[in-house]
């Protein structure tokens, strides 16, 4: 029975190669397509960074990287999924600043320690922006007004516990002021309310108000960054004004903590090559996003610093659970 023998041979052959595959897989990562989980909806800032990165990194990995959006819970659903993924490098994720804020709110099963950072790609600081008709021309005038009128200055943010709310709270605690924080469903509605003069200021990123700055309808008073923004060099940093507050949102690639070192190294190297491409940087600039690459270890340091800061801040303002 020739046929029978052939089948046996095929089965044995398949089994052997399957066993060999497993051994090879760890050494020759990646051997199949990689899923990049984005915890926010398609079309948003995090998604745009992810898609630009996937485009670029595809040229430096033997297998393709595909974006999958897992939305919900202000990022908690997607981030939980990244944390719980099998640590084999085939499900990696976009880690955002919410990794360091959500655990304090008591709505997440992860902490910052559950992730191994691969590369930070983008960061946007918070900025204090007011209507162009507002009487305050400088941040000092604005803060002085807030001091005289505690609770009267309404600052719009993108949701309670979200990064821009925390930024405004950080400014309030550091400068001993009292604002009225108004949460909106995202940064855009808050900016709209500011344009209509329904609130006094917003704490969203310069990128989210840039078109209105260009049109002359809004004015940035200060940014919460270590250095001035390249796009708006006239706006001072709070640090320059003696208020040591830096708050920024950031986005980068992370993998589950237990991912083997060789996979982490492969991804780090590929990411480094991807972000060095001019095409990737141009695409970010085009989308009004700032390029802010940090390699894995430095990204980890930045992440830990934020985790510590938000832990203290959120306890102080009574948001921690």
């Amino acid at each position: 029975m020739k046929g029978y023998r052939f089948v046996t041979g095929a089965v044995v052959g398949a089994l052997t190669s399957a066993t060999m595959m497993v051994a090879v897989q760890a050494a020759e990562y990646p051997t199949k397509a990689i899923e990049l989980i984005v915890p926010y909806a398609a079309g948003g800032g995090t998604d745009l960074v992810a898609r630009a990165y996937a485009d670029a990194v595809n040229r430096h990995l033997p297998q393709s990287v595909g974006v999958v959006n897992k939305t919900g819970g202000g990022g908690a659903v997607g981030l939980s999924e990244i944390m719980a993924a099998r640590p084999d490098g085939y499900r990696i994720g976009m880690g955002t600043v919410e990794i360091t804020t959500l655990p304090n709110l008591g709505v997440a099963r992860f902490t910052a320690d559950d992730f191994t950072p691969i590369a930070r790609l983008n960061a946007e600081p918070s900025a204090i922006t007011v209507n162009a008709n507002a009487p305050w021309k400088t941040i000092e005038e604005f803060l002085a007004y807030a001091k005289e009128n505690p609770g009267k200055v309404r600052i719009g943010n993108s949701g309670t516990g979200a990064i821009w709310h925390l930024a405004a709270e950080a400014l309030a605690t550091k400068s001993g002021l009292k604002f009225s924080h108004i949460p909106y469903d995202g940064a855009n509605p808050a900016v709209t309310a500011l344009l209509g003069n329904h609130i006094e200021a917003v704490s969203v990123s310069p990128a989210e108000v840039s078109s209105h700055i260009a049109a002359g309808t809004l004015r940035i008073l200060a940014v919460m960054d270590d250095q001035r923004s390249k796009a708006f060099p006239d706006a001072p940093t709070l640090k320059e004004k003696g208020i040591d507050v830096t708050v920024a949102t950031w986005r980068g690639i992370v993998v589950p903590k237990k991912t083997p070192a060789n996979i982490v190294e492969t991804l780090r190297a590929a990411s480094k090559k991807a972000v060095e491409e001019q095409g990737f940087r141009d695409q970010l600039t085009k989308m009004n996003l700032s390029y802010a690459y940090l390699d894995g270890p430095e990204y980890k340091v930045a992440m830990e610093k934020d985790a510590e800061m938000f832990k203290v801040l959120m306890k102080q303002i009574g948001l921690s659970k």
Binding site: A41, A42, G43, D47, L48, R51, D55, V68, N69, K70, T71, G72, G73, G74, A76, V77, S80, L105, V107, A108, G151, R154, G159, T160, G161, A162, S180, I182, P183, Y184, D185, N188, P189, V191, T192, A193, L195, G196, N197, H198, I199, S211, H212, A214, A215, T217, Q283, K286, M287, N288, L319
Partner: protein, 514 residues
Amino acid sequence: MYELDMLLHGAQALFNQPMALLLALFGVTLGIIIGALPGLTATMGVAILLPFTFGMDPLSGLLMISGVFFGGIYGGSVTAILLKIPGTPAAAATAIDGFELTKKGQAGIALGTATFSSFLGGTASVFVLIFLAPVLARFALEFSASESFALAVFGLSIIASISGVSVIKGLISGFLGLLLATVGLDPMGGFPRYTGGYTELFNVPFIPVMIGLFAAAEAFKSLEDPQVRAGMAAALDRIIPPWHMFRRQLGNIARSSGLGIIIGMIPGAGADIAAFVAYNEAKRFSKTPENYGKGELGAVAACESGANGCTGGALLTMLTLGIPGDAVTAVMLGALTLQGLQPGPLLFKDHADLVFTLFAGMLVCYVMMLVVGLGSLRFMGRILQMPKSVLTPCILALCIVGTYAINNSLFDIWIMLAAGVVGYFMQKWDFPASPVVLALIMGPMAEANFRRALSLSGGSYDFLYTRPITAVLLTIAILTLMLPLLRRLWAQRSPGGPTTINPAAGSSRMGTPE
């Protein structure tokens, strides 16, 4: 006239760019397909196409995206009318009367009317965008939290007019929706409510609930007797509505388009709200309001022209102020910036050539939508000839795939199926499903904006009567709620009218959450 001149120039420029027209056609077709499938939304379509526009010239990219936007809003009506599966939340309003018409064997005319109404509403809104944009631009900024709250209360009051036979059953459905709307993250405090520890429940899974209540429930119902053919095979003999019928809808369409345009301009309000509001007003002004809910062509015309009227309104605020009114225009705003165009008052002056070519292209998109729509209807209508034993499993499969596509989440599928079971019994006991959908749209909007308005005013309730738009909208809301009661009283006086008064209708002002 400067605008007209520029528009003609734009049209000329446009027809020298066959590639842009081809991409627009592609966009419109894709939009209709996306709109017709439950779970796939115009936002998703636009977001997926966005990276492909990177390499295109600005006109082609923006026209393709506009095509998806327009087609996506219209496409929802097709499956809503034929199968009672609203492809988009706005089509949930169309489904109320559209599916009744199909049951009566008038699917063809219902689809034709929906297509023409979408075309007219959309085209009217683009014309408003072209000629009145600078005049109307500031309107959107008048809208603060208190106005949005009042709009949402008005939206909730519409439950009274979409309840069908029994207002009390409609109100029960509406309150069920409001209860469901309390699940999720608290809109102001950010803490979870009734989530049972599931992060998936942090946002109310609105679209899965809608797909379940409408489509899955309908599919479960037809499982009862799978042998029956849909039995509406001959229904699609006529698609283009006869002129004497359509003429009567023109006033209705004009009013609904106007409402759609205004609602489109309001930040945070979109096609879904416009469709329900247009339905309500069409019923209010109709000579035969009792036919609404039982298969009235005017209802289909109103919903579709209202929903598509939104497109021009939303584009207006986006282009003139740089404020995106909804998720689709937010992505479009990104596309504009990518192409080096800065939305705002200067856009119309600095890039007049491109902007007016784009406007001409948008009008062409709507013509394409009309042609593609009418052309595909006969093909789509064949669905009705399928035996139920084939159609029903297909619908259920579509429900599951569509639900999964929203968030790539299995959890949503269970929600959808549970809603389907609830919807099945609601249908059996004559509880209408559309009040649930309406409450799920309006409830969170009313709650969040009421509390936001309170924090804006420092805890004072004055905003309820000191702000003119708020006061007017709240007054209309109360009138809408009282209308069924007043009608009953009126009918009671005249001989032969119903003699019982529905006690719930009077107390229904409690439709306001909190």
